[in-house]
Each structure stands twice: as C-alpha cells, then as structure tokens.
C-alpha cells in the first residue's frame, strides 16, 4: 500500500503526466488550424483517450486531457500535500501545491456546473433567456386554438437525443401531452434538399441530409426526424434549425407545434438593451471600444449599467460580458444588435484566489531558496 502511495505521489509520475499533458496541448493546438475549438476541446482536452493522427496515416493513441487532469490531481494531492514534508521551514511548496489543486478543482467545477451562453439584443429589446449556441433542444408547444399562442411547453434537451442516429430511435412521453414522440436520425449539421422523385423518399419532396460539421460549432444547423403518434394518429415530421417556422400538427382537436433550437436558459431577471455604442479609430475599421447600456429588471427593481470590453456586469450570480455585435445583413443602414456573453459559474473567482495562493507559495519558496543560496555562497 505504501509503495502504491509513493508511486502515485512520485516525481516520476508527475513528470510522465506533465509530459503527456504537454503532448496533448501541443497536438491540440496544431489541430486548431483544421478544426474548430469546440471539437478540439472535446477531443483533446476533455477526453479520457485521444487517437491523434500524425499526417493521414500514423495513428498515435494518447491519454486524453480529462484523464491526465484527474491523474495530476491525484499525484498532486498525494505527492504535494499528503507525503510532502510539512516543516514550518518550507511552507511555500505546500501552499503552492494546495493552490494548484484548488485551481484544477475550480476548473472541473466550472466545467460541470457552470452555464454559458449568449444574448443578442437590438436596441430597445428585452430578453430573460440566454442561449447556448453549442447545444440544441427540441421544443413542443400546445397552441391555443384562437391566437395560436403556446399554452404548454415541453423541452427535450440534446443530451437525450444526441445518440439517435442510424437505426437507433428513441421515444419520449410527457404527462401533459397526449402523444408519444419518437426521434430518429439526429444530425449535428444538416442541409435540406429536394428528393429525386421515384428514387428517394422524403417528406413532401424534401429530405434532410447530414453535412460535415462547420469549423465554428455555432454555425452548425442541426436536424432530426420525428414521429408523433397516438393510438389513432401518426405524423412524420422533419425538424431543422435553419427553418425559423416550427412544424405544426394536429392531434385530436388540438394544434401543436415543434421545432429545434439552441438550448435556452432562463435568467432570474430581464435584460433590456437601452443603447449600443461602438467606436472605431478614426478612418480605420479597427474597433476602439464598444459598449452596451442595459437595464436589468427583477421583482425588486431595476439596475442600469454600461457593459463594455474588460468591464462585465455581475448580477444575481450571472456575469454578462460585451462579446461582439452584428447585423442581420450587410446593408449599411441595417440595425445593429449587441451580443452579450453570459456565464453562470459559481467557481468563477476560484482561479483568482488560487492564483494569489500559488503566487504567495512560490514567492515564499523561491525567496527562501535565494536567501539560502546567498548565505551559502557568502559562507563559501
């Protein structure tokens, strides 16, 4: 047992883990010239194992970033804290290693429990949800018969249907809805096209086919086939993120509609964009600054703030950043919308705290070393 513990906390293991971590970071960086960051992140940095291809022919199996981080955490804890000499003369390293453990834990925490997304707002517009443009969800609404407004909503998140492709189908039920939904052939990025009559079968002459994912995850347009069935009725439908209108169907006397969209999350307040300002350096297209004046409203009142680059707004556990801006078309007079990045990460400040802790530890350690060195050279 002691041997195992010593091995797990050994310098040798640290060096091996750090070395593989380096290899993964290096390959993961080079691969970014060809693939989008989201894909790379999943493949190299958050995985357990990676199969990296050198050129097109040589496969290189490597431990993934996620696995290495866990191993590093174990190694750090055992070697840097548990087995480390805890003498009052050498507190620096203990503090620094503790800080690194905190840093890694904070990273895991943010990864698993944080929510990230964005809000796009035109001036005057108000929203109380934000979207994660890397994840999808299917929404099903029951509509009132007159105004066709949704009166009931049912959301199926992507985690529940991301594996339905090929022959795999998956059915879903809800107590509020009198039918069963079966999803099949989910495509991360899809494109509709007309069918070849007599050769292919589609829905009203159209079918969805998968296309290779875009470099930037946000630009993918997901698609999925869906079957809605009760004992008496069957409807076959096709949902595609590029289609803004939902698919409408009738069950009994009621109208329903359904569509696929980016994952939406609720904010505990509403955000209204009062004004968006952007300024360029004179006679260039280099942005000098851009800022959004927003009003956040809760039950208790409202707060007016200007969000700009390097100055986010922290409100009710959420942080809103000025991310970018855009227009729907390239026309010069087109109204501009502001894009605010939103994050809700309870461990947001952990990196800062751990940085302070580690820095203190390192400075303490290195200055002790330096003093000892100076003393010894004086003695010599």
């Amino acid at each position: 047992m002691k041997k195992v513990l010593h091995f797990l906390g050994s310098y040798k293991l640290s060096v091996v883990i750090l070395f593989f971590l380096m290899v993964i970071v290096f390959f993961g960086t080079l691969a970014q010239t060809e693939h989008g960051i989201y894909e790379i992140q999943k493949k190299y940095f958050e995985s357990i194992f990676v199969l990296h291809w050198i050129g097109d022919y040589i496969p290189l199996p490597l431990p993934g970033g996620g696995l290495l981080m866990i191993l590093l955490l174990i190694n750090l804890f055992i070697g840097g804290v548990l087995l480390a000499p805890k003498s009052i003369k050498r507190p620096g390293m203990l503090v620094a290693h503790g800080g690194v453990i905190l840093l890694i834990l904070g990273g895991f925490w943010g990864e698993f429990w944080g929510d990230y997304g964005q809000i796009s707002l035109f001036e005057g517009e108000t929203k109380n949800t934000f979207e994660d443009s890397r994840k999808w969800e299917i929404y099903i609404w029951k509509l009132d018969n007159e105004k066709r407004n949704p009166i009931e909503e049912w959301i199926i998140p992507q985690e529940h249907f991301s594996k339905v492709h090929g022959a795999i189908r998956k059915s879903f039920y809800s107590n509020e809805f009198p039918f069963e939904i079966t999803l099949m052939r989910f495509m991360k990025n899809a494109k509709p096209r007309f069918t070849i009559p007599g050769v292919e079968q589609g829905l009203q002459g159209v079918l969805l086919e998968p296309v290779s994912p875009e470099r930037e995850e946000e630009q993918n347009l997901a698609g999925v086939y869906v079957e809605v069935s009760t004992k008496e009725q069957h409807h076959l439908g096709m949902l595609w993120a590029g289609e803004k209108q939902p698919w409408v169907f009738e069950i009994g006397d009621d109208l329903y509609c359904m569509g696929i969209r980016h994952k939406r999350m609720k904010l505990p307040f509403s955000v209204k964009l009062e004004k968006f300002v952007k300024e360029f350096y004179p006679r260039t297209n280099k942005p000098r600054f851009f800022a959004s004046e927003v009003i956040c409203t809760t039950k208790d009142g409202e707060q007016r703030t200007v969000i700009r680059m390097n100055e986010p707004l922290r409100f009710k556990g959420f942080t809103l950043y000025q991310a970018s801006w855009g227009t729907k078309t390239d026309a010069p007079s087109e109204p501009v919308f502001s894009v605010l990045a939103v994050s809700q990460n309870p461990a947001e400040q952990v990196p800062l705290y751990s940085c302070v802790i580690i820095s203190i530890g390192l400075l303490l350690h290195f200055s002790q070393k330096l003093i000892r060195f100076l003393k010894s050279s004086k003695g010599a």
């Binding site: 960051i37 600054f289 950043y321 580690i358």
Partner: protein
Amino acid sequence: MNLLSVTSVLLSILSFLNTTELSTGNPQILNLISPQWDKEIITLAEQLPIQTDGRIKPLSTHARFLLLRLSGKTSIKTSDGKRLSPTEWFLNSLFYPNIAKQYPVFIVHDQSVIENLGLQGHEKKRDRYAYNEIRPAREELMSQAQRYSQIPPAQRTHIQEQILNLADNFLTFEEIIGYLDFTRFRYPIESNTLFTQFFPDKKEVLLSEIVEIFPEIKKKLKDISQSMNEEQIKESLTSIKQLLSEVSRLVHNAEHFTVIPPSEPSTKEWQSPLNAVINVFDPSIETVPDISLFSLFNKLEQTKDNKEQFKKHLTQLVQEITQKANKRGEGGKINLEVRYYKGNFLFYSQWIFFLALIITAIWWLFINNKLLKFSVFSVNSVAVLLLIFAITLRCIIRGRPPVTTLYETILFSTATAVLLAFIIERLMKDNIALSLASFLGLLGLFIANRYEMKEGTDTMPSLVAVLDSNFWLTIHVTTIVIGYGAGLLASAFGHVWILGKLLRVKKNDKDFYKQLSRGIYGIICFCFLFSFIGTVLGGIWALESWGRFWGWDPKENGALLIVLWCLIIIHAHLGRIINRLGEALGSIILGVIVSFSWWGVNLLGVGLHSYGFTRGAWNSLLSFWIIETLFLLSGIYIALSERKQNTNTIQ
C-alpha cells in the same frame, strides 16, 4: 433644382470611381533633378502632425514606415546619387511627383513578378523598381491583383502574394503623388459665362481661387436665379456640375492622410485640406468655412521653388495645425516621437552590444583581467540603458505600458534577458552570465530590427478594443514577456554547456559545469515563476473580457507549454530523474518552446489573439529549430561518449 442633392450624388458616385489618370502638375517643366530641401524645412515637415492608421503621428513617422513598406529600407538612393531620408522622399513625392516617379522605391523580391506583368526585369533577382518602370503595366498589375485577391491567403503562391503587395504599394504611392493635385488643378472657364463674370481676364483658374470666390458665386446665383430662364439655369448648373465632378475627384485623391484638426471637439476624424473647405460648395450652407489652412497648402505648392517663401508658409502651417491639435488635447507627443526616431537609440544600442561582444571575446583570452571584465560590464550597461531609455520613451509617447505589440515584446524580453544576466553574474560570479549578456542583447535587437523591416508598419499602432486596459497589459503581458526573456537566457546557458562539452573547454573543471547547471536550474525556476503567474493572470483577464478563464486558444496553450515544460524540468531535477546534461538539453528545448509560444502560434493564424498575428517568420523560426535539433543531437553524442568513457574507466 437643389444644388446640394447634385453635390451629394456626384460626390458619392465619383468617390468610387478609380481615377487612373492623375494630373501631376505642369508637364511643361520637367525638372528631373531632386530638389535640395533646406534642413530647417525638413525639420519642420517632420513635425507636421497628421492623422493616419487611427492615430495622430508626426509626418516623419508615417513617411518612415511607408518607405519601409514600399522599399524595405528607411532611406532611398536616387539615380543622381543622393540619399533621401523618408521625409525628404515624402516631400518630393508630394511636391515633385514627376521626380519621385523615377525613384526606385518598389521592392520586388523576385524578378519573375515583373516578368509576369509583361515587363523587362532587372538583372538582379531582388531589386527595387521605379513607378515609371511599372506604370506601363498598371492595368495588367491591377487585373492580376484583382484575380489573386479572390484566392484565400493560404492558397496563394509566393508570386501571387507579391503581385498583390506590389499592387497595393503602387496604389498607395499614387495616393501620395496625387495628394496635392488640388493645388495644381486648373479649371478652364473660357466658355463658362458664370465663371467669366468673376474672372474676366482668365482662361483657367486655380481651385483655390474658385474656393475663395465661391461664396460670392453662390450668392450671385441665388440672386439671379429668379430672373433666369430655363436655358440659363441649365447652363449654370451644368458648369457647376462639371466643376463638382472635378472637385470630387480631387477630394478622392487627397485621402491618403488627414491633416486638418476639426474645430468640433467631439469629431474624432481629422480632414484633408480640401475636405475641410468642401462646405463652400454646398448651397444650403451659408457660413463661409475657414480656408486659411487650405490656402497655405496652395501657397506651399506655388512657392515650392522659393526656399524662403516655402519655409515661411510651412512654418505657419505646422504652427497652426499643432496649435489646433493641442487645443483638442491631441498631438502633444509629436515632438517626442520625432526625437525618438531621430535618436536612433536602438540602432546605437545594437552597435554598443556588438562592441561589448568584441570586448567579451578579448576578455575571454585574459579571463582574470579585472579591467576587461569591468569594461564588458560597463559597455553592456550603456547598451542596455539605451534600450531601456528607448522603451521608456515609447511608453511616454503612447501613454501605455512597455509591451503592447509583438515588436515591443522583443525589446522588452531582450532587456529582461540582459538584466537577468547581470543579476545572475552578481550571484554566481562565474563570468558566464556576463559573457552572454552582449550576445543576447545583440541578437534581440537584431531580431527586432529585422521584424520592423519586414512588417513595414507603425510599431506604435492604436490598440484594438480588448487590449485597451493599461492595468491588464501591465500585469499580464509584462510578466509573460519577462518569462520569455528568462527562458531564452536559460537556453543560452544550455548552449554554453553543450558547446563547452563538445569543444572540451575546461574539461577537468567540474565546478564550472556544476555552476553552469545551477545557473540553468535557477533561471528555469525564475522563468517558471513568471510564466506561471503571467499565464494565470492572462486567464483572469480573459475571464474579465471574454467570459472564460481558459479557452484552449493557441496563445494560451503556448504559454501553458512553457509552464508545463518548466514544471517537468523542475520535478525531474527534484526527483533526480535527469542529470546535468538532461537539464542543459531541457533548457535548450525550453528555448524552442518559448519560440513556438512567442512566434509559432501567431503564425498558425487561428484563435482569439489575432492582434498578434504575423506573417513570413516561418523560415527564420524553422532554421532556429533545425539548429536547436543539432544541439540536441550533440547532447546525445555527449551522453554516449561520456558513458563510454565511464565504462572504460571502470574496466
């Protein structure tokens, strides 16, 4: 009929027209000998504040980087044997375009670029060409450039890239030689009844004369328009339309830089001389614009062959523009910037480092000579102080912390490496660190110079929005760059170790190598400390501005690689996994990683840190990596031969 609508429509249409034929002064007098500008005139012109690339800078800075971009040098040798400074060249291009057109100003790296355009190339593969040489193939150049611009940058061939560059430079040069066209433009009025009323004895008039009198023309038109018949109205409108189309062309030509500070404090954009008086042509505006600066430009053109008059007008122009700018709180650092470039501090610093290198070599022959050691230290100190002085001046000029651009990272890490070498010398007293100081300083400044030459763009540019935070720039970027400097110093130590072993220097002096190793390890710890803190601080900044601490962006990963490698060496040292040779090799690999993180990831061209992208450094970087590989291989050779030796001794 609304004249304003005519004006605006014409202006908008004509501003998009490409004016291929430029009127460039009186063709009848072709004075092809370069004019001799008075020293005072050049000094004055250097200090003229202009607005370009989004900031206010002295004309001399603009001219310097423009000439660098076009020709790859900061001076130009004319066919009559004169060497012109950037400002002289710029003045000639403005005032004597026909002479400037003969200057070999366009650098072409491969003569097949010229042959591709159907022209005869020079004998030398890489040479400079004059405007007049390329002019016959202008159309071909533009059509090829148009075609190649459609190809994504990564897929362009070397020649295509160069043709695009040449076309770009060619058009820029046309902008300069056409800038003062408005002062030379003569409007024929002979058959124009409206204008002949105001200029009864003239066949043609200068634009400045029209601008002066136009408020009256407007007034007159208004007064008489009631009594005019349709035919007359049509006639006068046609003549004004003609004039306005000419004016729009001239406005378009004078876009290269702006030089008139607007009187409205909230307006950030300066104006070109003609644009500043354009309101005079607007019938709906009755106030007469201030035409004094516009007139001064005209007077400069008219008196360019009269030194005294020209000087008088230039003095007045520079003074008035400076005053106007200062009133707006702008251009306060113009003179300092002129002096910074004139001082050539980095150039001198580089040569003093070179001198220090020579003294170092002599010192090595007489290693115990204290006087020589002191000289090495003093000469290096002078060089590094000059470097620090230059960095400080740059900070003051821009009101920014020392490092905001890739160019400044070189200056700062060089200073760091040299100072750190001093400190280590003080601690270890083994003469190695001090010996390396001049080499590192020289190398750093050489690279900085090469980089500036290659990029050919202002090294004090305006900063993109995300970088606009002096606080974060100071604590994150500076820390990271200190880490780079330390990494390179460690690498230099590693090279000394390997070279020493290879050349069998001090082969019986075990202490020498022991000391060297201690140095390497110490610097790696220092490098780790700064790289680590710098990287985490970068993460915290990213959290503030992009909303995430870590995004696996190439630049972030590059910094992480340095941290991880330092950690590997430190832990391998502590666990006695590697010996001294291993540490020396480790420090050389550290140098390779630093170069990858510093330059390599920028060359990948992806990620959020796009403000640091650069091109064309691949070759230098690859050569560096190849040399380092050779060093690593020699390390293996040393290991093998030492093992053999050990076995022999045991046997």
